[in-house]
């Protein structure tokens, strides 16, 4: 339901990161996003079939305010020479890491 979805986004401390290079590692993501605050975990987006990174990930912070800092200062800057995009996400659930094959 749409309303619930919106409420979840407003309370979330998880970000969806897009336009990553397929070769960008968790460590690289951690270095950049760790500069905005304490990162709780990173879940790499994987190709459904090949189970290899496919250009997106989820970054979960311990606090909402750190996630806000990341959106504010990291969205639209470069990681691994690619301009990355950050968006709020409702929170990672098992299975969501698989992108289009």
């Amino acid at each position: 339901n749409r309303h619930e979805q919106e409420q979840k986004l407003l309370a979330s401390s998880t970000l969806y990161i897009g336009n990553l290079s397929f070769y960008t590692s968790e460590g690289q993501i951690h270095e950049l996003f760790g500069r905005a605050g304490d990162v709780k975990r990173i879940v790499m987006g994987l190709d459904k079939v090949k189970k290899t990174p496919c250009g997106f990930c989820f970054v979960e912070y311990y606090t909402r305010s750190d996630a806000e800092v990341a959106i504010r200062y990291i969205n639209g800057t470069r990681l691994d020479d690619r301009i990355i995009r950050t968006d709020w996400d409702t929170g990672f659930k098992e299975g969501r890491q698989y992108g289009r094959g």
Binding site: S25, E26, G27, Q28, H30, E31, L32, R35, A36, D38, R41, I42, V43, M44, V69, R72, Y73, I74, T77, R78, L79, D80, D81
Partner: protein, 774 residues
């Protein structure tokens, strides 16, 4: 919400008034003067019905839009000329707000109000003599006994920072009285203590530009202004155009404003040092950078700082606003922006905003002015690098953080060849250390091949090793190690998904030895067991951070029991180091995880970082990254518990009030006395752990520093080595970065550690810290 309650159009009109007032002075097709005249006319008509609202909006503009201060003083001047009572009521309200701000310690707001009142003298709203009276009562604070210097400082600052606006008018009308105020200030400033100064300077020496204390610098600027008969060229003064209207207005007398007396709970702003990077010779011809003691330098810097303050949440707007600075054609704006931004980034004890803000905003500035901004930034980076030998370690660290981040956004392109001298230097020499640490950070942002291809071949000795894990039980010669058989069994069990219990049983018969076979006589921990188990676990999870986390989570009970006591915890951390010594990020991330899952505790991390095994990494930046993140976690934990206790108390009291009023409480969740007591016990335990952590850290510092000094003395060599600089400034960093916290324990520290018999070099650091608030 308010709109729904309103039954007439009142609220709409109030909103319209607010929008009209707050937007005056923004870019517009007609002149500022005609906009002001028009607005004054509109407001005059609305005053009978909306006087209070209009006054309130104006008072908010005083503190929230100080960049348009003279626009609003002119507006108030015009209103006062039309309606004398209205001017009086505005002054009354502003004075009330000022008194409140002084009482509650909102000194920055107070400063804007004092400046506004000062400029109202120019607009014929206030009598000059009454302003002088206020100044008098402010500078009299300098004569009070038994007050901290920071108190008298701030009152002097309130006066000094208003003088560029009203100096000329006071000079013309009340010269003698103004002179008296200035001489009190002069007297005060010449006698001030400046013990704190070395703790706040970005550079320890004064070449090429002195790094001055903020009041000394402003005083020099004001003296220059006075010498030029109080004429400055920076401020826009719209009221000059209305002279004929304003000069006929009746003036008000400021009521007496006495500073509220000092009390112990009042926090005054900390002193600052003015950051100087450039002078006019650094700037290409065409525009002139005002000298460091020109009042224009102060005024422009303050306005740029203000733009950053207003826009710090929106990096793009911030960059655009900085580059859109009104007087941009007269000054080398890019240089001033870069200096102000670095001034904030290198501000001690802490930068006003998160490091990332400065990095992200510099990127936007470069995008908006791709032909000139990168050049100025490169020039600044060169200069910072050239002056790095005397730069404070905290600032060098921030420089590393920013520079590596900036490079990561610009394809790691840099004229590295110019810095080739570092290759030959002592690895602890600041220049060499800087380049090494930058490359380490670049490695974290990218990958080893990328970093090594970005620098000249000659930089090979400065490059970090490949960040791979080390696992001794699969290395050549592992066969002869006492733990190898167990380690190999453990690998296959974990791979076939054994339970934590099964893994524990597998290690049961390992003797209490060190991994090299040496006996361990301490029954509290088994180093061989810890090594076999933890090294194997880390090895199997080494593919990524997530894999490591999963391994730690699954075998959490094993880690908890292996490292039940302090020695075991330190031993565990040493195994982590042995495994990941070539990958600092993994160490940082995994220590964080071990702390959060309570496998190790904060003081064991501190003890580990100071241990013999870590000595050769002791000046590496990652060690201090871990140290400070550990202190921060500890303090967050204490804050969290404090918050819970406060909340429980509030809830209980609220319920008691309701009960007393005879309200039916229903099934409200009331914390019991026992529950609160338990929470308080937890808080107390955490607070004492925090205090203990600081004691451990300071004590260990004292030991390593004293040993170094004694060693140098007995060998009759200079103690002031690069190592000493890094370590003593790291000690300073613990004081500065966590200054509010450390200050809570200052008397314990003075009593137990920083006693008068310790070496003066160490004691000085403590004294400088104390002087920050004295």
């Amino acid at each position: 919400k308010r709109r729904r309650i309103a039954t007439d159009g009142g609220v709409d009109i109030e909103d319209r008034l607010e929008s009209l007032i707050t937007r005056v002075g923004e870019k517009s097709t007609s002149s500022l003067e005609s906009n002001l005249e028009g607005l004054a006319g509109v407001l005059e008509a609305d005053i009978p019905n909306y006087k209070h609202k209009i006054m309130k909006i104006l008072c908010e503009c005083v503190v929230k839009l100080p960049e348009k201060l003279t626009v609003y003083t002119t507006l108030v001047g015009l209103l006062n000329a039309k309606n004398y009572n209205c001017g009086g009521e505005f002054v009354e309200m502003l004075v009330r707000n000022l008194k409140e701000a002084l009482k509650t310690g909102e000194f920055e707001n107070a400063r804007m109000m004092v400046r506004f009142l000062s400029d109202l003298v120019n607009c014929h709203v206030l009598v000059a003599a009454s302003l002088i009276q206020m100044y008098d009562s402010f500078v009299e604070v300098t004569l009070e006994d038994n007050i901290p210097q920071v108190r008298s400082d701030i009152y002097v600052y309130l006066v000094l920072s208003s003088l560029p606006w009203v100096g000329r008018e006071l000079y013309e009308k009340k010269e003698k009285e103004l002179d008296a105020v200035l001489s009190t200030i002069d007297n005060y400033l010449s006698k001030r203590q400046k013990i704190h100064l070395p703790a706040l300077k970005a550079w320890s020496n004064d070449g090429p530009h002195p790094q001055e204390e903020y009041l000394d610098c402003l005083w020099a600027q004001i003296k220059n202004l006075r010498n030029s008969k109080w004429i400055e060229k920076q401020l826009i003064r719209p009221y000059l155009a209305f002279d004929s209207v304003l000069c006929d207005a009746l003036q008000h007398t400021l009521p007496q404003i006495i500073p509220p007396s000092h009390n112990k709970s009042m926090t005054y702003p900390l002193p600052r040092v003015v950051f100087r990077l450039f002078d006019y010779t650094d700037v290409p011809q065409g525009t002139v950078l005002p000298g460091s003691h020109a009042i224009e330098r102060y005024l422009i810097e303050e306005q740029l700082n203000r733009i950053i303050h207003t826009n710090n949440l929106e990096r793009k707007e911030c960059a655009a606003a900085l580059l859109g600075y009104p007087a941009k054609n007269k000054i080398p704006l890019n240089y001033m922006i870069v200096e102000v931004m670095f001034g904030q980034l290198f501000e001690l004890p802490r930068s006003p905003y998160i490091d990332l803000f400065y990095g992200a905003t510099f990127i936007e500035l470069c995008k908006l002015q791709p032909t000139s901004m990168p050049e100025v930034l490169a020039q600044a980076s060169e200069m910072l690098f050239e002056r790095i030998e005397t730069m404070h370690s905290i600032c060098i660290e921030r420089f590393v953080m920013w520079f590596s981040y900036h490079l990561s956004n610009f394809q790691y392109r840099w004229s590295w060849d110019d810095w080739a001298e570092c290759v030959e230097m002592d690895p602890n020499a600041p220049k060499s250390k800087f380049v090494r640490e930058v490359l380490l950070k670049c490695l974290r942002f990218s990958y080893h091949q990328r970093v090594s291809e970005s620098v000249p071949d000659s930089f090979a000795p400065l490059l970090p090793p490949e960040p791979n894990p080390v696992y001794r039980y699969e290395q050549e010669g592992a066969g002869s190690l006492p733990g190898t058989t167990h380690a190999h069994k453990l690998i296959s069990s974990i791979k076939s998904k054994c339970t934590p219990d099964e893994a524990a049983i597998l290690l049961k018969d390992l003797p209490n030895q060190y991994p090299n076979g040496q006996e361990n006589e301490n029954p509290a921990f088994n180093p061989l067991k810890i090594d076999v188990f933890f090294a194997t676990l880390l090895h199997l999870g080494s593919k990524s951070i997530s894999h490591s986390f999963a391994a730690l989570a699954k075998f959490h009970p094993n880690l908890k029991s292996l490292a039940e006591f302090d020695d075991g915890k330190v031993c565990l951390l040493k195994v982590l180091y042995e495994t990941w010594k070539n990958n600092q990020q993994m160490m940082v991330v995994l220590v964080d995880k071990l702390l959060r899952t309570e496998v190790v505790d904060c003081s064991s991390v501190a003890n580990w970082l100071f241990s013999f095994e870590m000595q050769h990494d002791f000046t590496s930046f990652y060690v201090w990254e871990i140290m400070h993140s550990t202190i921060k976690k500890m303090s967050r934990h204490v804050d969290q518990l404090q918050h819970e206790v406060d909340e429980a108390h509030d809830k209980q009291e609220a319920v008691k009030r309701k009960e007393a009023d005879g309200l039916d409480l229903g099934d409200e969740d009331v914390p019991s006395d026992e529950a609160i007591e338990r929470m308080e016990e937890k808080l107390e335990a955490a607070t004492s752990a925090q205090k203990n952590l600081f004691l451990v850290i300071f004590q260990r510092f004292m030991i390593v520093l004293t040993e170094h000094l004694a060693r140098c003395e007995s060998a009759s060599v200079d103690y002031n080595t690069p190592w000493f600089k890094w370590v003593i400034e790291r000690l300073q960093q613990v004081f500065l970065v966590h200054h509010e916290l450390v200050y809570r324990y200052v008397s314990t520290l003075e009593l137990l550690l920083f006693t008068s018999d310790i070496d003066i070099h160490i004691l000085e650091v403590f004294q400088q810290f104390c002087a920050l608030r004295s």
